[in-house]
């Protein structure tokens, strides 16, 4: 078996189909991060929101017997959590990074607590009672040889995710509302001066980011796997943060980053089947993120050097 043969067995159509699947949860969180970033809030709580979404999606699905009910509960729980985040940051003036980290910690504790307290399980919960999303076959496309295998037969949430990119693009860049939201993030004082309710816009950005993470969390526990486990988000919220950073707020550019992570994730799973040590292979998405992060930073610093701008604004001091 030569190298090409092995490569041919690793890189298959299923690998690319899996890439789309694995990119989806990161994509939802990324879109959420983009919304809050445009309103001027650096949301580091994405990881915790995904965690909450994944847990409450399972609870909703078990309690009401439908994946859509699970999705709804996931969205509601993430909305509540991001409302709390928003109130503590915007009204009580706590530091955004710290509130975001607090949200991650709180969500991790709460889901693990409720996992024992409500679902009576330790570590993970898996049960036939969890009704997950069924794959959707797209009528015409499924007949086309290669495209069909690649694009058809995914969970409805995968399609919603990619639709979300288009919606985010239109919403943020082609509507007056999106313009207002971006104005708040760009320069809150100027936006306030022309009569935009900056506080309302920031709330909107945060809540949108919560709702989108609800989709992402529900995808993890009701479409990707039919279960909830501790740490099942596995840092995808952080990957999303890197994708937001890479895309500089543009949904399409961030999508590229999400696809890279999705590919790294899919490749990691594939390589494990070839007997490579899982610990090393699982490092792939994180290494890919670092590379993406570095490339985007190099690109940005080149651009900055070209226009001979002043040095980038310094980080906000931690005031506690």
């Amino acid at each position: 078996m030569d190298a090409f043969d092995i490569l041919g067995r690793i890189i298959t159509l299923t690998l690319f189909a899996a890439t789309l699947r694995m990119a989806t949860p990161v994509l939802f969180a990324t879109l959420g991060g983009i919304c809050s970033a445009h309103s001027g809030v650096f949301n580091v709580g994405l990881e915790g929101l995904l965690d909450l979404g994944a847990f409450f999606a399972v609870v909703g699905s078990v309690a009401l017997g439908s994946p859509w009910a699970g999705l709804a509960l996931a969205i509601v729980s993430c909305l509540v959590a991001s409302l709390v985040f928003a109130v503590i940051h915007l009204e009580l003036k706590a530091h955004e990074i710290i509130v975001g980290l607090a949200l991650n910690l709180f969500a991790y504790g709460l889901t693990n607590y409720l996992l024992v307290a409500i679902l009576k399980a330790t570590g993970f919960y898996k049960s036939p009672l969890i009704i997950g999303f069924q794959p959707v076959n797209i009528p015409l496309i499924e007949r086309i040889p290669i495209v069909g295998e690649l694009l058809s037969g995914h969970s409805p949430l995968v399609y919603l995710g990619f639709l979300g990119v288009a919606l985010a693009y239109v919403g943020l860049f082609k509507t007056p509302w999106g313009f207002h939201l971006r104005a708040v993030g760009e320069n809150a004082d100027a936006a306030e001066a022309v009569g935009i309710n900056t506080r309302l816009m920031k709330y909107a950005g945060m809540l949108l980011s919560g709702a989108l993470c609800g989709f992402g969390g529900a995808f993890l526990s009701l479409a990707y796997l039919n279960m909830f486990s501790e740490n099942m988000t596995a840092g995808r919220g952080w990957l999303a943060l890197a994708a937001v950073n890479f895309g500089e707020g543009r949904p399409l550019k961030s999508l590229v980053a999400c696809l890279i992570f999705g590919f790294a994730d899919a490749l990691a799973i594939r390589l494990q089947q070839f007997g490579l040590p899982s610990q090393l292979v699982l490092m792939l998405p994180y290494v890919a993120t670092l590379v993406v992060l570095i490339l985007s930073a190099i690109q940005r610093s080149r651009k900055a050097e070209q226009v001979l701008e002043s040095p980038p604004p310094a980080a906000k001091p931690v005031e506690v």
């Binding site: 503590i88 706590a94 710290i98 607090a102 949200l103 607590y113 994180y286």
Partner: protein, 359 residues
């Protein structure tokens, strides 16, 4: 200002801080109680069990102090970084890297006198912990790569890479869980004379470092520069301070302290490196530092408080059936409120009304 007015100002300050912490703690306990009620248990019983599990007897107090050793060190690591406005969220990875290095020195070098062997272990942990912070800070200084994400990615990489090391090349064949061989006896930190407790000199080492970091940040020129850069980098730059050097040093010192924390917990408590041994020591360090308002001496009580929470949690779970994950939600709640400006401003107004200043 007269000395009387100054005393009054100081009293107001102390009272405000005390009231602020009391408020945060009450909020956290109330949220925790609400969560306990969800599982149909009695919050007061649970809190009593938690307290007794943490501080109920001299041995338990000593064990809590032992647990605080690593937390003091990671707390200091966070304090140095946050004081300089370097968002080092990579403490967990630096801790793992340092812990593995210390373990390696501990089980692969033989026949050294104990003090030298211990020193080498701790040095290795410190060095490798600092090195693990290096890529993130170099990327930040060279291309302005956001350190929040890069340090986080390095966490995952460190945890997975050390897990690989102990699963394959360094796996001890006799070990039950994937882990290295046990350290030589000469590499283990000696116990302090409290029968029945695991308390060892790691705690004294941590205390010594807390005072050293305090001295460094508040009594040396280099430390002053770090604090000024953290306070306002532009101002520090205009005043001729080496902003880049300070940022660099803050990250490396921070990583080194986290690595030392890993070394102390391996040589003092575990006795060998076990894959995923840390129950969030690095993450707790950040919360501890924030709770201490990033002050090195404040880190000591904050770390002991967190150690008590962690040790009490297990006792609470076995006594009352309330899952120990509750404590994580309580920690999260504390973190939510710890930087709330509102409390301080509100309390300040109130206290000044009650105690009208003379001047």
């Amino acid at each position: 200002m007269s000395s009387k007015a100054r005393l009054k100002g100081l009293l107001i300050g102390v009272a405000m801080q005390a009231a602020n912490y009391a408020l945060i703690l009450i909020m956290a306990l109330v949220v925790g109680a609400a969560v306990i009620l969800v599982s149909g248990k009695n919050p007061i019983d649970a809190y009593i069990a938690l307290f007794q599990g943490a501080l109920g007897s001299p041995i338990k107090i000593a064990d809590t102090l032992d647990r605080s050793s690593v937390l003091i060190l990671t707390g200091l690591a966070a304090a140095v970084a946050f004081r300089t406005s370097v968002w080092n969220l990579g403490l967990e990875g630096q801790l793992y890297a340092g812990a593995f290095a210390a373990a390696w020195v501990g089980f692969s070098i033989h026949g050294l006198p104990s003090p030298i062997h211990i020193t080498l272990c701790l040095l290795a942990g410190t060095l490798v912990g600092g090195l693990w912070g290096l890529p993130a800070i170099l990327l930040k200084l060279r291309w302005d790569v956001n350190e929040v994400v890069s340090t986080l990615m390095l966490n995952y990489i460190a945890i997975l890479f050390t897990a690989y090391l102990v699963a394959f090349p360094f796996r001890s064949p006799t070990a039950f869980m994937p882990g290295t061989e046990t350290l030589d006896a000469t590499a283990r930190l000696p116990r302090l004379m409290i029968p029945g407790s695991v308390l060892n000199i790691g705690f004294l080492i941590a205390l010594a470092f807390a005072f050293s970091v305090f001295w460094f940040l508040y009594r040396t020129k280099l430390g002053y520069e770090l604090r000024m850069v953290g306070f306002n980098p532009r101002f520090a730059g205009y005043a001729g301070m080496p902003v880049r050097r300070s940022t660099f040093l803050a990250m490396i010192f921070s990583g080194a302290l986290a690595g030392l924390g890993g070394a102390v917990v391996i040589t003092g408590f575990f006795g060998r490196f076990i894959s995923s041994f840390s129950v969030g020591y690095g993450w707790d360090g950040m919360v501890i530092s924030l709770l201490a308002q990033n002050h090195p001496l404040g880190v000591i009580p904050a770390a002991i408080f967190y150690a008590a929470l962690a040790n009490g949690a297990l006792a609470m779970q076995s006594a009352t059936g309330v899952p120990q994950a509750l404590v994580v939600t309580v920690k999260g709640t504390i973190m939510f409120f710890v930087t709330v400006q509102f409390f301080i401003a509100f309390l300040n107004r109130r206290l000044r009304q009650w105690m009208p200043s003379t001047s």
